[in-house]
């Protein structure tokens, strides 16, 4: 978080806290002073004191509190959201950088590429973003209000502290239960939802076999039942909340009654009862704020769960960020005598192979599905494993190769942005961008979409079109090591070959490695057969 943002966030939070205190204070005083005024004038009205009673002063105060409460609440909402938004920006940018460094991104099958998982993740991020606004700020103001009124009660009606303390203890006890049992219920909800989601996902992926074998309705019903059990667990949490809220709503009135009863018990009469009455009505006004107690508890437990979950992504993330500075020196030859192939989870695959990658000569990795082609490409790219390759008289470590390689993933996607941003070509001239789009036969489609500065999204493009945009990125890349994973997937055969030949001719001076499951007839290509 930059210093400027941090200080602006701190100022906003201070302001929000100030408004929150003012709003609560005005609300309490509005209730209390109005009641006190009525009591005083009722007593004064009995005698000649009515004519000397300074009514306008009190009435002015009441109007002040009324307007003050409205204004301060508005200010509290506005500055609170402003503070939360300021924090949100900083946190999300930090989170993006941290996620980019998380090892999970480099493995196969990016989990947050899936809509349902992404939605869960965003919920967690939002629970973190708003925890302070939903829990921290109201808890702070409530605590201060409580402290002041308890102090006043101790002075005016000490005996009332007994029921007030008892009830507060009950609230703390119930709150603690919500925090503990509620956290468990929430954890159970989350895990049931995850289980149901993966089960439904598996059933959806096998819809045809399941329907054919008559097993669909059973599998689908079980997945949905997991969601419904999650709803049930959530119901448990809400019922705990209801208990806390019930005790919370009794608090204000009971405190008020206690104060009046204690004052009466102490023998106060007539005008002596007016200050306790002010206090009693203040307690009732504070009781309104107490109604949010269960929401505060839930916001806190959700924040903790979210923090935990997001923390999982960051586990084992390397401290420093990989340098993506482009090393201008092109390695002439990249060699590894006995490369032990590894699966993304680190398991060894097959026997070590010898690799010799040279510019100008395309290397094809051919193998059946599951033979580890993508993993080997990622290993060469330095995304998985920490193998060192020889490059002439130098040694290129995995992170150095990462900086030099462009990895064209077969499941690469379109980012929601302009076409220009999607090509990742920095400030390359328009003509170069169009040439790249022509080469992958996407120029017509992009013209149609509105040119280089048109805003595009994933769902407007077919898989084949997304793949061709992906190949245009490769065309525009200037990195010396070019690794293409199934570059012709989702394209029909002739178009795939045409584009690939154009691309290879354009990348003539680079080291190019292609993985494919179908052998093709590329000239001058060296083929490596991969066996599992």
């Amino acid at each position: 978080m930059s210093a400027a943002i941090r200080s602006s966030s701190r100022t906003s939070w201070r302001l929000a806290a100030g408004f929150a205190f003012a709003a609560l204070g005005c609300a309490i005083l509005l209730g209390g002073v109005s009641a006190w005024l009525l009591g005083s004038v009722a007593i004064a009205g009995l005698s000649a004191a009515a004519f000397t009673f300074n009514f306008h002063m009190a009435a002015a105060f009441i109007r002040l509190f009324a307007v003050g409460r409205t204004a301060a609440r508005y200010g509290e909402r506005l500055t609170g959201h402003k503070a939360a938004l300021t924090d949100q920006i900083a946190r999300r940018v930090e989170l993006f950088a941290a996620m980019a460094a998380a090892p999970a991104v480099l493995r196969t099958g990016w989990q947050l590429g899936d809509d349902a998982r992404l939605a869960d993740y965003l919920d967690d991020v939002e629970d973190l973003d708003y925890a302070r606004l939903r829990a921290g700020l109201p808890a702070l103001t409530l605590a201060c209000g409580l402290a002041i009124l308890i102090a006043a009660s101790a002075v005016l009606a000490p005996l009332s502290l007994l029921p007030i303390t008892l009830l507060l203890l009950a609230i703390l006890f119930a709150g603690n239960r919500v925090a503990k049992a509620g956290a468990m219920a929430w954890e159970r909800t989350r895990s049931l939802r995850r289980g149901g989601a993966s089960r439904l996902g598996a059933a959806m992926a096998s819809a045809v076999p399941l329907k054919a074998e008559g097993a669909w309705s059973r599998e689908c019903a079980e997945a949905l039942a997991a969601f419904s059990r999650a709803d049930g667990a959530l119901l448990g949490l809400r019922q705990l909340q209801a208990v806390l809220d019930m005790i919370g709503t009794t608090f204000g009135p009971v405190a008020g009654i206690s104060v009046m009863a204690a004052a009466w018990h102490a023998g106060r009469q007539g005008t002596e009862l007016l200050p306790p009455m002010l206090l009693a009505f203040s307690w009732i006004a504070l009781g309104e704020a107490m109604n949010g107690a269960s929401r505060i508890a839930v916001a806190m437990l959700r924040r903790n769960a979210a923090r935990n979950e997001i923390g999982h992504w960051m586990q084992a993330a390397p401290a420093g960020r990989p340098s993506s500075a482009l090393d201008e020196t092109l390695p002439r030859l990249l060699r590894h005598g006995a490369l032990q192939r590894r699966a993304p989870d680190g398991r060894a695959i097959g026997t070590p192979i010898s690799l010799l990658l040279a510019p100008g000569q395309t290397t094809m990795l051919v193998g059946a599905s599951g033979s580890g082609k993508t993993s080997l490409l990622k290993q060469i790219a330095g995304w998985i494993g920490d193998d060192a390759f020889a490059a002439g008289d130098r040694i290129l470590s995995a992170s150095e190769r990462r900086a030099q390689a462009t990895l064209v993933l077969h499941d690469a996607v379109i980012i929601e942005d302009t076409v220009r941003a999607n090509l990742f070509a920095g400030d390359a001239p328009d003509a170069a961008l169009w040439r790249a789009l022509e080469a992958v036969e996407m120029d017509g489609r992009i013209h149609e979409a509105g040119g280089l500065d048109a805003w595009i999204r994933q769902d407007r493009f077919s898989l084949g079109e997304a793949q061709r945009i992906n190949l245009a990125r490769a065309w525009l890349s200037s990195r010396p090591l070019m690794l293409l994973d199934e570059p012709t997937e989702h394209l029909d055969y002739e178009q795939g070959q045409r584009i690939l030949e154009r691309l290879l001719a354009h990348l003539g001076d680079r080291i190019v490695v292609i993985s494919t499951h179908r052998a093709s007839s590329l000239r001058d290509a060296r083929t490596i057969e991969l066996q599992p």
């Binding site: 005024l37 009525l38 007593i43 004064a44 009205g45 009515a50 009514f55 009435a59 509190f65 009324a66 409205t70 508005y74 909402r77 300021t86 949100q88 993006f96 950088a97 996620m99 980019a100 480099l106 099958g109 947050l112 590429g113 349902a116 993740y121 965003l122 939802r193 989601a197 993966s198 089960r199 996902g201 598996a202 819809a207 045809v208 076999p209 008559g214 097993a215 949905l224 969601f227 709803d231 049930g232 909340q241 209801a242 019930m246 709503t249 009863a261 007016l274 009693a280 960020r321 699966a343 599905s369 599951g370 993933l409 690469a412 996607v413 379109i414 980012i415 990125r473 890349s477 066996q531």
Partner: protein, 538 residues
Amino acid sequence: MKTPVVPAPVPDPAAASPGAFQALASASQLAKRGLRRLLCLQIARSALRLGFAATAAMAVGRLVMAEPIASWLVPVTIALLLAACIAGFAADRAQASTETAVSIGLRERAGKRLDETPARRLQSLSVGGVIMSMQRHPEAIAGLVVGHRAASTMMAAGPLLAVAALFLVSWQAALLVICLTPVMILFFALIGRAIRRRADAQERAYGRLAGQFADRIRTLPTILANHATSGEEAKLARRLEAYADNTMGVLRIAFANAGIIDFFASLSIAILAVLLGLGHLKLAMVPGFSNLELWQSLFILMIAPEYFAPFRRFSEQYHAKAEGLAAAGALDRLLDTEEVVAKPLPVLDVLSLELPAHGLVAITGPSGSGKSTLLRRLAGIEAGGIPALGSRRLTAEDIAWVSTDAYVPEGTLAGAISWNAGAVDPNRLQHVARAIGLLDDALLPGGLAARLDKGGANLSGGQRLRIAVARAQLCGRTVLADEPTAKLDPGTAGAVRRMLLEISTRRLLVVATHDRSLSGAADITFDLTHGDTVEVAA
């Protein structure tokens, strides 16, 4: 950041066809009984709270004025307070359990709907979208038809009760509060319009930036592969800031909504306190506000905020409405879309198949000629004419389906092979798994105890297919196989071919395939190469 106003698609009742899912109508129907109970409890809570306010005001007023207090008053006050809290507790629980019941019921109906959905349509749906719909949308819709509905009804019932209570003490005070309401509603309408205008303007100008964080997280591997992390980070910061600035602009107006309720609630207290005070001082004779007992004026003071509370609760439900409507629309769209129209394949409609009790039947032809469609029609899971089958008719119970998208439950390899295959002899399981090469697979170490992830995430298509073949071998049913040897390395393809041929000596095996060495061994071949004729070779 959610803005308080989300333009929600309004479902058009006229467009709903008789077979439409109509999530909202279903949910309302499911909610009916629970909602009635919830409303009764909420009304009881409001009435009891008013009763508490009346008795408490009476006790305090009389105490201050040194008037005698009836001995029943204090216990009744406390009893009313406790009863109000218990009614509130019961109402909260009723709301939670009704919403849960509606959500579960709606999900069951949606599940039935998915059962009726043809496999081809299921395949065309986005998996993530279906999961989101089934998990989240029923809950959001339940919030709309229960919580929001109750709050909007209470907006009528709550103030009515409060006014009735005021009326008992001073009809003029009741009138004053009622008179404030249209003014408040007028402000509401004005501000509501302003919010919508502002939100629409934001949507037009900044709508693109709304999901930027989510999008960049979704596309992280692509960004990383293109070395764009730091550039995207800076851009993200800029865009989030621009969006947040604009959101604050919308919020400034949106919060005015809550501000108005606050203002009128505060204002009513202030006006009433001043009028009542003047009445007590006997400085001004305001009709309805003079000659009142202290307890009566305290009572009026306590009731006035109750009048406005339901409005506040309702305005807090704004999200529930927008989210519920959006969820209902999404669920309807998901479950109602027309059947994906399959490419017409007239040749299949006139096809008459005489399938033998055992043997290998091959369906051949180029991609798109209808091989898989014919196979699905045989299984009865594809709309369109089921080819005449002679004396036999396949039912789901005697079909084993072999393809690369075979279902694999989470657990061990042994469990996956014997899933849905009836009682399996462990020795045969071991034998079959070895024959198909699943036990010496370097990518699946651990033999039969090998751990399979959820959804078979750690399996390749080839491994899935071999599990399906082994399962088909064990279960003794008719086998329908869709391209069983494509995308396999030659060694594995050979093992799959051998096992399929072995199955075909005892049972019927229908295979859609490009693989010459498999179709060459067929007893009967249906060639769909030419769209209008079918060559049958025995």
